[in-house]
Symmetry: C2
Subunit: 291 residues, 2 copies
């Protein structure tokens, strides 16, 4: 079974569109501030996709585009402006930021209530503590869990193996799987005999950014495989000279997996759908608090 | 090899005692506020041990003892008072609190800077994000890591299996082990075939509160075993009618383990030593900021 992230993401966008259409007309709509520094091609693509998704569902967006050599202070000031802007309910800083910028400091400056990427220490802390009611969660991990749920894939009691332990994907995803009562093993670049561990997985989630690393002999029969990787590999036959692949060798692994996400069209669209959802949730919390 | 937590904890206390003795005499000493609600015998024992440890190293302590039926509001007010008390640098709420109290709300009310138990969402978030410079960490996980370090037990690249996923021990400990580049598997009450996982452990840490659950056939030869459990079991031959045991059947497992903590005398004394250390760290941060 191929897990169709495109279809699920579209379903979520349609649902958000309906919800937003029903909001009080006299109020301003949900708004997303997008901060983009420099001209990275991949970042520009992601920002374009996010803006298109906002348009589709009825979220107002405002892009703050800054040159590659912007100073830390100027960037901080832009975020302070967005923090206090009443038309903005969510703030997205497109990563990576240039090397001369202190990324942690910038991410920390986004107000907790507008932190739709779920990077603020207090949001991260509440996620760790399983206090999920009022917390903005990182979009990719949330999207992975949502995919499993939409396909009625049981998490409780299953052995979930996560490859990668980044703050943005692997770590929060591992925590969410634990909160859902999976047995969780986290592997990474220092893991020895990694195949021995991945072969135990009922649910294998890879977020390590190694193109097609995971082969058929890494997984057991019937495993559910979620591929978070987005890697570009050279391909002379492709129009642009490259193609996008996941961390999983899809053609090799699909025969053994009971369910598997493709790349593209798996986790990717879910990440954007969750960003929209977080923005709407932030908007709702804001309106509840200011009532 | 038996890991001597008593000796390591004593060493740490001696070191803290020297450090405190060297602090500027004109300043007030480090101070710990201890909030104890009700009359639980085990809680009273822990509080007594903590006060004794404070006395030994030269930390001022002030106990706020409240009756079992104290209201949420009154308890909150006591914490607000401690938050603003300039003689107090760390605040410890002895758990568990009575059922009518919202424990989460109480723990959240402790100011981040005085949160020597490491329960505040922002401290938890920074721990999750591996920003450990300025963070107060939960005492028991910190004590476990310190024991491994003092005995020069390598963590990086090892397979660490943690039993239990509580917010106080299992979860933060798993995160710390990941930050130290261990491969980490987290097991708990919903884990199936738990022995198959624990038998893979290079380092096995149990924090599940099941008396002597872990037998020799749960561990592989040469495993390092850290036992966080403190369980009382009936024993007619004991003076008090019970004795304290860990989660590990010590006599059964010790032959196979390359290193093992006893209970009592393993992790327990380290928890208190780390509380003292956190209090001194909070004191130092406070003094640095107010300089």
């Amino acid at each position: 079974m191929i897990i169709d992230g495109l279809a699920i993401a579209k379903e979520i966008r349609n649902q958000l569109k309906e919800e937003i259409a029903e909001f009080d007309n006299k109020q301003i709509p949900p708004g997303l501030g997008i901060v983009m520094v420099g001209n990275r091609v991949d970042s520009a693509t992601y920002v374009r996709m996010k803006k298109r998704a906002c348009n589709e569902v009825g979220i107002f967006h405002q892009e703050v585009r800054l040159s590659e050599d912007v100073s830390q202070e100027e960037l901080l000031q832009k975020i302070v402006d967005l923090n206090t802007d009443t038309a903005i309910h969510g703030i997205l800083i497109q990563l990576p930021l240039p090397a001369h910028i202190d990324t942690n400091k910038i991410l920390k400056s986004v107000s907790r209530e507008k932190d739709v990427d779920g990077f603020h220490p207090e949001n991260v802390g509440n996620l760790t503590l399983n206090r999920l009611e009022d917390v903005l969660m990182p979009c990719t991990p949330k999207g992975c869990i949502e995919l499993l749920d939409k396909y009625n894939i049981e998490i409780e009691g299953k052995h979930a193996v996560v490859i990668g332990k980044s703050s943005i994907v692997g770590m929060p995803l591992s925590l969410l799987l634990l909160h859902r009562e999976a047995t969780v093993s986290v592997c990474h670049v220092k893991t020895q005999n990694i195949k021995e561990i991945t072969r135990q997985a009922d649910i294998l989630i890879s977020a390590c950014g190694q193109a097609e690393m995971i082969k058929a002999d890494w997984v057991k029969d019937g495993c559910v495989v979620i591929d978070v990787g987005i890697n570009s590999v050279d391909d002379e036959n492709a129009k642009r000279g490259y193609r996008i692949v996941g961390d999983v060798d899809f053609d090799d692994v699909r025969e053994k997996a009971s369910a598997i996400t493709p790349v593209p069209g798996g986790v990717g669209p879910m990440t954007i759908a969750m960003l929209l959802k977080n923005t709407v949730n932030a908007y709702r919390s804001h309106n509840t608090k200011t009532k």
